[in-house]
């Protein structure tokens, strides 16, 4: 597949040409003052800053709320008393400025969601312009959990930042198809060389044996370790980490009925909430804070790798930055590896 190039000053205009076909989102300053996903109409000057947008791209893959089906009890409605699936005529979406960690979360989330039709449909609609990282923040640890700053897993088009131009490399067929009809210049050999060099220099940063070490540990040793008490003392069970995490995928389903019409919706749920495991009988196996905190980390770092292979964490560092009590998953990982 060919590489293409475009100058930085023309990048936003190039993307705007696809506005009719796609809804385009990229990271920018919001009115609240933090860096988050906004529609391209609100972006005047494009500058990929170091650092990640506040929310992960799962806001596009599982929107909150997602309507599963609708129903109505209004007998004048021709579709009354029947379950109606929502029209899925949504426009395709381009996400640009997606970092390797966020892009990798797509393939990690696809594992438990391999049979989820809603997720798969939305996945087909999305085109990811991933931007490789040339430097890492102090809270990034992607290479420790099986990713890397130059991983192209999950991207449709990988973008590499040269001083005044971007080099665009298609990774999937979707990406190739878009770039082929975009009418861009092909990348020069010098530019391609720079791209390849960056990838080569940084791919050895991947210390991918963390997952193997965790898989080899005995589950009950980790479960009964003594460090969980001190860790969970501070936790306020808020749900911030789960909602901002790109690889936390739990949801709850509920019917909402209003004036004879109803819909079944799916929305994000968090294992940190006490109601998450509340049984109809009133018994709650994870009623204690310690059990819930332990469960979250054990799931991401032990149960998920045991079942699917990779660690369910991409090393983006959002939970570390946003946790109100500064619970650090790197610290947990270190203590689990030492047990």
């Amino acid at each position: 597949m060919k590489d293409f190039t475009i100058s930085k000053s023309q990048f936003l205009d190039f993307l705007s040409e696809f506005k009719k076909e796609f809804d385009i989102y990229g990271p920018n300053e919001t009115s609240k003052g933090f860096y988050d996903w906004v529609a391209i109409d609100q972006i005047e000057q494009f500058e990929i800053k170091q650092g990640l947008p506040k929310s992960s791209i799962k806001t596009f893959l599982f929107p909150q709320p997602e309507i599963l089906f609708e129903f109505s009890a209004n007998f004048k409605d021709p579709a009354a008393y029947r379950l109606k699936e929502p029209d899925f005529k949504e426009k395709k979406i381009i996400l640009f400025g997606v970092r390797p960690c966020d892009a990798r979360s797509i393939s990690l989330n696809s594992m438990p969601y391999s049979e989820d039709t809603y997720f798969q449909k939305r996945l087909e609609q999305i085109l990811v312009f991933g931007f490789l990282c040339k430097s890492v923040c102090s809270t990034c640890f992607c290479s420790w959990v099986g990713g890397s700053p130059v991983s192209m897993d999950g991207m449709d088009i990988a973008v590499f930042d040269l001083e005044d131009a971007y080099v665009l490399r298609p990774i999937t067929k979707k990406g190739e198809e878009l770039l082929n009809r975009a009418g861009l210049d092909e990348a020069t050999d010098v530019e391609k060389e720079a791209f390849n060099r960056l990838v080569k220099e940084n791919s050895n940063k991947n210390q991918s044996n963390t997952a193997d070490i965790l898989k080899s540990k005995d589950l009950f040793d980790l479960y009964n370790a003594s460090f969980w008490q001190e860790l969970s003392d501070a936790c306020i069970n808020c749900g911030t980490c789960t909602f901002l995490c790109p690889t936390c995928y739990c949801f709850d389903i509920q019917d909402e009925v209003l004036k004879g019409k109803g819909r079944r919706i799916r929305y994000w749920d968090s294992c940190m909430f006490p109601l998450f495991t509340l049984h109809a009988s009133g018994h709650n196996p994870r009623g204690d804070k310690l059990k819930r905190v332990r469960n979250r980390f054990m799931h991401k770092l032990k149960y998920f790798p045991d079942r699917f292979g990779p660690i369910s964490c991409v090393g983006c560092g959002r939970c570390i930055r946003e946790c109100p009590v500064s619970i650090d998953i790197r610290e947990v990982l270190r203590q689990m590896l030492e047990t």
């Binding site: 609708e70 209003l258 004036k259 019409k261």
Partner: protein
């Protein structure tokens, strides 16, 4: 909105009336054949102190154009002090709802005793008039 264009748009006002005074007062209004607009939908509660802000907001969420909460006069509560607690609760709630932008005429509170049938009819007419001027509720109404 088509509702406003209809000249005869009748707002829907949910009224929480306390069983011992206000509900009896409303009943007296009916028995004495005082006329008042049919915009009002009455919910009988044992005491105005039972009404919690959850309920008032739930009424607004479900599309009520206005809410009325009515209880016994202070000092006359059947449960001695229910309406006195309610008075404090509602004064804070009314100011708070105004603060976030809910029009102040949408949520109303009155004291109506069991013998005040005429006052009840007058209150309902007044409130209907005020809510009609505001138009249909749109701010806290949940829609799919």
């Amino acid at each position: 909105m088509t509702k406003v264009q209809e000249k005869d748009w009748e707002p829907k006002i949910i009224a929480f009336l306390c069983n011992w005074c206000s509900y009896a007062g409303a009943d007296l209004a009916g028995v004495s054949r005082y006329q008042y607009p049919p915009s009002i939908r009455i919910i009988r509660v044992p005491c105005s102190g039972r009404v919690s802000p959850n309920m008032i907001l739930d009424a607004l969420k479900n599309g009520a154009d206005g809410v009325l909460v009515s209880g016994c006069h202070p000092g006359d509560c059947h449960y001695i002090s229910g309406n006195l607690y309610a008075r404090r609760r509602f004064s804070l709630l009314k100011r708070f709802l105004e603060f976030i932008g809910i029009e102040s005429d949408r949520v109303n509170f009155t004291w109506i005793s069991a013998s005040e049938g005429e006052q009840f009819a007058k209150v309902v007419s007044e409130i209907t008039e005020r809510v009609k001027r505001l138009g249909p509720a749109s701010r806290l109404v949940k829609e799919f």
